[in-house]
């Protein structure tokens, strides 16, 4: 947290100019929190953030502070998620839920374009009216920023740039929230993605809640973030406030519910593609696709053509798909990954190993969603441990033929 | 033109890839039971169900192994060329051909009488072992190939 030690605690926010300096830190009183929402809206953003729905904290439209999960927390373990009341009135006193921000950047269903036949030898391509207003994501955790970066690399970081994703990315404002607690299935420390939010945000909030105090430490991440704060009543943060924020994050780091040894994980998994563990986990896995839907980085999708009856128009739609679906690997001769062990292996090796080959990083951020939302409680950290334990030890004659 | 031609010499017999390296004594015993034959294209060399009394080594030409069944078209399952061998039913009771063998081109073959070959293999176990060491891989490769053909690797 060296950045925090260099905290700029000088001038108050200016009004009308560029706003407070990038890197500077301020305090926002809980009672003034609505002014932040007002400022975001004034700046033209639709605010999306955490809200309680159907017994879980999910992401949806935030119209007022009342939409936030005030005083709620979640208890998570493998295959289990339960909302509980907190003893305090924290706005962000929970961990991550079943949703992730990918639903805004990479919608579950998206109309890509329409082909319209203009004459016998031609068609025109039209793109749907831009339905995406600028959005402020309120309450983005460190692991989720890492997930945004990972999906950014997939959709706009390669030779082929996805135009819809690029458009939505250009219009997103990330209001991060530092984790003050860890969930029962969290392992961001193992993945090097958290719990401290270090970069990739426009604004970052740390909820300071002790001894009757309820304030937010606000760090300015970008000029966009600074501009948004126009008119928000902030006062300079003191070094003691910064230390209090650091302490909250340090508490979360110590309370990780899970850990994963990532040492040599790429070669470990690719060297054990025929480990007996795949059959074992494959017997438990229902191939229900929950993990891929809850995962903030899973990007696999299918494209469909939707013709109208006249055959003059043909809409191209994209929808989320999953490597756990039998049809996902369908060739005309049948599915390549016809068994559940093969499909689980595909998911796990992609997430933790071949993602490096394809996109230059791990595909896992340690958020624990796949563990919590697995109906049979499969825990990838345990599966990796099992693969490591079952791996043949290098000995005479080993190597090359794993 | 179908029929025997210039007799084969022991040197020629020994030079054939399949028989190369077998003992001179063994080959000498075979020589009197060996002859060269030439066939026109389209000649049926062997018929499925007939007694199998001969072992064939192809010197020149092309031979098709066919399955023939009433009411269905002939089906060629393998073609063989120079250096290849066919016909081992003389070794396997009840000593009946299991395919038709038919030339696709004018062909010249070396024919060894099966019963004599059987006797020689029995009498000279070391040569017999070498002979089988050459024959078995051929049988195995053809079995492998047949499996893939049954698998219908290019099927739509």
């Amino acid at each position: 947290m060296s950045g925090l030690r260099n905290a700029h605690v000088g001038d108050p926010p200016s009004h009308g100019g560029m706003g407070p300096a990038v890197g500077s830190r301020w305090l926002l009183a809980r009672d003034e929190f609505p002014s932040l929402l007002d400022a975001l809206r004034r700046a033209g953003y639709r605010i999306v953030g955490p809200t309680v729905r159907d017994g879980a904290i999910v992401y949806g439209s935030i119209r007022s502070v009342a939409d936030l999960p005030e005083g709620w927390t979640d208890r998570q373990s493998a295959g289990a998620y339960r909302l509980e009341r907190r003893p305090d009135r924290a706005l962000f006193g929970y961990n991550v839920g079943p949703h992730s921000w990918k639903k805004y950047l990479f919608p579950p269903r998206e109309h890509l374009f329409t082909l319209r036949r203009t004459d016998a030898a031609k068609f025109e391509v039209s793109v749907p009216e831009d339905p995406d207003p600028p959005m402020a994501y309120l309450g983005v955790r460190a692991c989720e920023i890492a997930a945004l970066n990972i999906q950014d690399r997939v959709f706009v970081g390669g030779a082929a740039v996805d135009p819809g994703y690029a458009r939505r990315k250009a219009r997103r404002l990330v209001v991060a929230v530092q984790c003050g607690q860890a969930g029962g299935t969290c392992f961001c420390v193992s993945m090097g993605t958290g719990p401290a939010v270090r970069d990739g945000f426009d604004l970052s909030l740390t909820e300071l809640l002790d001894e009757g105090r309820h304030e937010f430490l606000v760090e300015i991440g970008t000029a966009d973030g600074a501009r948004v704060l126009d008119g928000v009543p902030l006062r300079p943060a003191e070094p003691s406030d910064v230390r209090a924020g650091e302490a909250r994050v340090a508490d979360a780091a110590r309370a990780m519910g899970r850990a994963m040894d990532t040492e040599g994980i790429h070669d470990l998994l690719l060297g054990n593609l025929e480990s007996p563990v795949w059959d074992d986990v494959g017997r438990r896995c229902l191939a229900c696709t929950n993990c891929t839907l809850a995962c903030p980085t899973c990007f696999c999708h299918s494209t469909e053509e939707v013709p109208d009856l006249s055959a003059e128009r043909d809409e191209r739609w994209r929808r989320w798909d999953s490597c756990f679906n039998l049809a996902f690997s369908e060739l005309h001769t049948g599915s390549v990954r016809s068994t559940t062990p093969a499909r689980y292996r595909q998911w796990l090796t992609h997430k933790l190993a071949t993602w490096f080959d394809q996109f230059g990083s791990s595909g896992c951020v340690g958020c624990g969603r796949c563990i919590t939302w697995c109906p049979v409680g499969i825990d990838l950290t345990a599966e990796v441990r099992a693969i490591r334990a079952a791996a043949p030890r290098p000995g005479p004659g080993a190597g090359g033929t794993a | 033109m179908n029929g025997p031609v210039r007799p084969i010499t022991s040197a020629e017999l020994e030079a054939h890839a399949f028989l190369h390296g077998l003992s001179a004594r063994f080959l000498a015993e075979l020589l009197p039971h060996t002859e060269r034959r030439e066939f026109a294209a389209g000649h049926t060399v062997a018929r499925e169900g007939d007694p199998a009394r001969e072992f064939f080594l192809i010197e020149v030409g092309k031979v098709a192994l066919e399955i023939v069944a009433e009411g269905r078209p002939h089906l060629t399952v393998l073609t063989l060329g120079p250096g290849e061998v066919f016909g081992w039913s003389w070794l396997v009771p009840p000593h009946l051909w299991r395919v038709d063998a038919r030339t696709l081109k004018p062909s010249r073959v070396v024919v060894v009488a099966g019963p004599a070959l059987r006797d020689a293999l029995e009498a000279h176990p070391e040569d017999g072992y070498r002979f089988l060491r050459r024959l078995v891989p051929i049988l195995a490769r053809r079995l492998d190939a047949t499996r893939l053909q049954v698998f219908d690797v290019y099927r739509p």
Partner: protein, 291 residues
């Protein structure tokens, strides 16, 4: 300060087109029935439009609009500009629609995509090409490219395997190729009737007498995985190092540009990193079932 654009509006220009998945209109200029279920289509662009150049082994995404999009390798001559040629076997809805397209039919096409055959690795070497079934289609541009530069490499051995004589593609051209004296084309089928005077048996059975210098040869393989694996193993048995062998692999492709995840094969996105890959890099993966 009441509107978004000054504050959060995009800094970078925002694409307003359909992106990398947007196809261009083509029409079927000519159609040739290759076999009972396979046709070759010559696709011409809309008047005034260009056809992007391609390298042998690359593929395009094609659809009869509304009938589904499918990845089809380019089987035309890379030296012929202004058209795309595709050989399509009618298997599913999308390919049935394509294969049934008569001249004049509107086709949505985009591409070319993928890494093709490393043609320049052939220069100065003997070349062995083994193709099976419709695997001859992506090999045809390679053959045409090689034959155009015949003086730049050594011997050329081509072995083509098919189901039956009725399943052979490019029959007239095949006859012309077989007549060449500067290359040897062997054709073998799995089963044949009495009207077939060619070879019957697996492609691997034609390999023992293929003429090439294992120390200085390259091999390009395209066909069902099991056929390529057996062929590669047989070639290695003849002393051709793994480093000299390339294979063209197949997995479902939907986007063609590395975004949708369908065509993963271990570390590879075949649409982006393949479909042609060095056998050295995939030999082990090809032996893993259900990858």
């Amino acid at each position: 300060m009441s509107t978004a654009p000054e504050i959060a509006g995009p800094v970078a220009p925002v694409p307003s087109h359909g992106g990398p998945l947007e196809p261009a209109p083509f029409t079927v200029r000519a159609r040739a029935q290759e076999t009972r279920d396979t046709v070759s289509l010559v696709l011409a662009p809309a008047p005034g439009s260009e056809v992007p150049a391609f390298r042998p082994g690359q593929f395009n995404m094609l659809s009869v609009p509304g009938r589904g999009e499918v990845a089809i390798s380019i089987s035309g001559d890379p030296g012929r500009a202004g058209e795309w040629v595709h050989t399509v076997r009618a298997l599913g809805l999308a390919t049935q629609a394509l294969a049934g397209s008569m001249p004049g039919t509107l086709i949505a096409a985009r591409g070319p995509y993928g890494q093709g055959w490393p043609v320049d690795r052939a220069w100065g070497k003997d070349v062995v090409i083994v193709a099976g079934g419709v695997g001859l289609a992506p090999v045809r541009p390679l053959l045409l490219e090689l034959l155009r530069h015949r003086a730049r490499f050594g011997r050329l051995e081509v072995i083509y395997g098919a189901r039956t004589p009725d399943d052979l593609l490019y029959a007239p051209e095949l006859a012309a190729w077989r007549g060449r004296t500067d290359a040897r084309f062997q054709v073998t089928v799995d089963a044949a009737g009495r009207d077939w005077y060619g070879d019957v048996g697996l492609v691997t059975q034609r390999l023992p007498d293929a003429r090439f210098d294992p120390a200085s040869a390259v091999a390009f393989l395209c066909g069902p995985e099991i056929m390529m694996r057996l062929t590669a193993e047989t070639l290695e048995g003849r002393g051709l190092p793994r480093e000299g062998i390339w294979v063209s692999l197949e997995r479902t492709m939907q986007c063609g540009v590395g975004l949708c995840g369908h065509c993963q094969f271990g570390p590879y996105l075949l649409c982006r990193d393949g479909p042609v890959l060095p056998y050295r890099d995939v030999a082990r993966l090809l032996r893993i079932r259900g990858l």
